[in-house]
């Protein structure tokens, strides 16, 4: 080693943070400074490879990193200070853990010699975040810092992805140590990617014999990468089997595809849920039998043989016992599956599958998403249908908040590619969508990024208007404003005798003025006749927009599988809701 090289490998901990991120190919980070991260911010100030985006709340930094990660497939990075900075990041970490999103959160910590002394802005960050990260580290020696950061990127992105956190005491940032370059130490964490050949062979045989098969796909397909979505499309086209997806998996198979049944689950499409209930072979690819999907467990798809492809062994047989478990990465398994099935002649029971499609067409004929826009008030379904029509041709990314609008967006917007749909699925985090849209827009500066929101969710992180305006991010905040916590209100109507306890707000802001106060554009629309023009005005405006779409106040979200009920007990509309949820269902979430 030359003397010069040896010198460049010696650096401060703060320099190591920046150098490690650079080596990992990071170009954008989201953060908020504070006392315990000042040395790192000082280094950020003195370089230009990595762009730092100043959010207005640490929760938003983490959601923005999630949006960045989900829309690119690359890990997102957030940097926050100790104590309150770290605790504010907890919701975002939990959100990323539930949805398996690869993010790296760097937190400042009080200096090592003050840890445990209840110092100013001290919190037991690794203790607090242990259950809401895939893994976390407290780095007490500068010499170990860069290797830990590289390991953190590896852990976050390998196997089932997830959030990781590195807690860095301030004295470790100041002290000098030796930099360990990326890849110089192989990680011990090496999840298995290839599926068991015998299990795959068993699935091939089941596919050959299946009379009523269905693919049930999830976020694992998208997390596995673009190859997985490509292979999934090949497999569906080759077999001719119908396919449905969870909320997390939308876009892996195109909504415009021939075999698409639409989303399944609590607010999924009638034909998708009925197909799940009546199928004789269910092929779960990268989904986890979440309770929003299964409904009543003991009545879930009672007559099917079930296969489950998942990279996480703990997801297999956790909720639903399966007949053919395949532990592995979706892309690896699908490649082997397609090859094995083709090698045996690519056989399916074509006649039986054709009859299955006839049945599915009968279910489809119910047209469960049908609605009529009549009268002077915009129905939320209409607003989203128009948004879909008017934005479909664009290079479009959709985020959502959580609630009725989220389900309507999943039902009425179509996704033809993966990584285009960012929504908080597992944790159901109100306030996710707006900061996520900021992360997405930074990753895709020229794209049309829309956050479909409810007014209540949106207010939870509205401070991020400051971020959007400061960085000139033309994110479109499409707020379906019913002046209600719509999903809470819907459950109170169905379950709690129409006692609407605290599910509305009596003092909503004027969203147009709010936009203007931040230096952005506000648009209000309450008339179905002018909706198209207003949406076009939003799309064509070059900056951030708050679109206040005043919609029907008491619309319910259908179809709906009431909690505690099976897939074939869906409610299709208002007429079927009387006494639909029993006492047993009422205790469930």
């Amino acid at each position: 080693m030359t003397r010069k090289m040896a010198e460049t490998r010696e650096m401060t901990g703060a320099q190591m943070v920046v150098q490690s991120l650079r080596d990992q190919g990071v170009t954008t980070i989201f953060g908020y400074p504070g006392g315990a991260v000042l040395p790192i911010y000082d280094e950020i100030f003195q370089q230009s490879d990595i762009q730092h985006i100043l959010v207005r709340h640490e929760q938003a930094a983490v959601h923005a990193a999630e949006g960045y990660a989900r829309s690119t497939g690359r890990p997102g990075v957030a940097l926050v200070t100790s104590g309150p900075g770290a605790t504010n990041a907890v919701t975002g970490l939990t959100d990323a853990l539930m949805d398996s999103i690869p993010i790296i959160v760097l937190t400042g910590q009080v200096p090592t010699f003050m840890i445990g002394s209840d110092a100013f802005q001290e919190a037991d960050t690794v203790g607090i975040t242990r259950p809401c990260t895939k893994h976390n580290w407290l780095v007490k020696e500068t010499d170990k810092l860069s290797a830990t950061i590289h390991e953190a990127f590896h852990v976050a992105t390998s196997g089932r992805p997830g959030p990781v956190l590195i807690d860095i005491p301030k004295d470790v940032q100041f002290a000098t140590g030796t930099y360990t370059p990326k890849g110089s130490r192989p990680s011990l964490y090496q999840p298995r990617l290839k599926g068991d050949a015998e299990a795959i062979a068993a699935l091939v045989k089941a596919m050959e014999k299946a009379k009523k098969p269905v693919f049930y796909t999830g976020g694992g397909v998208i997390n596995s990468g673009p190859a997985a979505s490509r292979l999934l499309r090949d497999l569906v086209a080759a077999t001719g089997f119908p396919i449905t997806s969870t909320l997390m998996g939308l876009g892996a198979y195109p909504a415009s595809g021939e075999n698409w049944l639409g989303m399944l689950g609590m607010h999924g499409l009638y034909e998708a849920n009925m197909a799940m209930h009546d199928c004789d072979l269910m092929i779960n690819i990268g989904a986890r039998f979440d309770d929003r999907i299964t409904g009543r467990i003991d009545a879930f798809s009672p007559r099917s043989k079930k296969a489950h492809i998942d990279i996480d062994a703990s997801s297999i047989n956790k909720v639903i016992r399966v007949d053919i478990p395949i532990l592995g990465d979706v892309a690896h398994v699908l490649e082997d599956l397609l090859a094995a099935w083709t090698a045996r002649g690519g056989v399916t029971d074509r006649e039986a599958v054709a009859r299955w499609w006839d049945q599915i067409r009968d279910w489809r004929a119910i047209d469960c998403l049908r609605f009529e826009q009549s009268g002077p008030v915009i129905r939320p379904q209409y607003a989203l249908s128009r948004l879909e029509v008017l934005t479909k041709a664009h290079d479009r990314y959709i985020c959502t908040e959580v609630g009725q609008h989220q389900m309507w967006a999943a039902q009425y917007l179509g996704f033809d590619a993966p990584n285009r749909w960012m929504t908080s699925g597992g944790l159901g985090t109100m306030g996710y969508g707006f900061p996520a849209s900021i992360g997405v827009q930074l990753a895709h500066p020229d794209a049309l990024v829309i956050n479909v929101a409810g007014e209540a969710s949106w207010l939870m992180n509205m401070q991020e208007m400051g971020t959007a305006v400061q960085y000139r991010l033309p994110v479109k905040q499409f707020i379906l404003n019913n002046e209600r916590l719509g999903m809470v209100r819907q459950w109170q109507e169905l379950l709690h005798g129409e006692r609407y306890s605290h599910s509305w707000s009596e003092s909503l802001p004027d969203f147009v003025k709010l936009a203007e106060a931040f230096g952005a554009k506000g648009i209000r629309c309450s008339d179905p006749e002018t909706l198209d023009d207003a949406i076009m005005e939003m799309i064509t405006h070059p900056g951030p927009v708050i679109f206040d779409c005043l919609v029907a106040k008491h619309e319910n979200c259908f179809p709906m599988i009431p909690s505690g009920k099976a897939h074939n007990e869906m409610l299709l509309g208002e007429a079927s809701t009387k006494g639909a949820i029993g006492a047993g269902g009422a205790v469930m979430v």
């Binding site: 203790g127 196997g159 068991d196 703990s314 007949d323 053919i324 478990p325």
Partner: protein, 190 residues
């Protein structure tokens, strides 16, 4: 990391088809967990049990390979076969966990626990305590004119039995280590 234990040639059944996974009868299982000896690893394992509502009957942990930074935990837990399988899979997800070995499922194993018993008394009771300790092959590791501290090693059941016998003879204090276990035979599990 943890691999599903898929039995060869029987992939049409459950991944955990080594035994009946549909049983609702609770079983006692002894798990050996080989972990990277790093700060917080014990908290991760314990947090998993409390966070997901699993039982711990006993837990022991100590470093077993100083240069290799390995520690071994032995956890005795109780649950239905489905819960036991979940515990093993969830443990396998923890990044610094290298291996999870279900000693109960994988064949014969030896389990030992160490107990220390302080027994105070005079006269016949004192003589009887010493006599019983001899039968149980317990060692006297401390003695005064009116007390003994016995050291006993064996299965948990043996130590339970010894405790029952000592109770009427002046048992004052007990300390137990919890179970440590190894599989029988020459094969090493890790």
């Amino acid at each position: 990391m943890s691999a599903l234990k898929i039995k060869k040639g029987s992939t049409s059944h459950s991944a955990y088809n080594l035994r009946d996974t549909h049983s609702s009868v609770e079983e006692r299982h002894t798990l050996a967990i080989v972990v990277e000896n790093e700060p917080g690893v014990l908290a991760r394992v314990i947090g998993l049990f409390s966070g997901r509502g699993y039982n711990i009957e006993s837990l022991t942990v100590a470093e077993i390979d100083h240069s290799g930074h390995r520690s071994r935990m032995t956890i005795v837990t109780r649950g239905t076969p489905h819960v036991i399988d979940q515990i093993e899979a969830q443990l396998g997800r923890i990044v610094p966990v290298h291996e999870v070995i279900d000693l109960t499922a994988e064949g014969p194993a030896v389990e030992r626990e160490l107990g220390l018993f302080k027994v105070a008394g005079k006269g016949d009771a004192r003589v009887e305590a010493l006599r019983l300790a001899d039968i149980f092959r317990a060692n006297v590791v401390d003695s005064t004119l009116e007390s003994f501290v016995f050291e006993i090693t064996g299965t948990s059941e043996k130590i339970d039995a010894f405790a029952e016998l000592m109770r009427p003879l002046g048992l004052r204090e007990v300390a137990r280590t919890g179970v440590a276990a190894l599989s029988r035979g020459a094969a090493a599990k890790h």
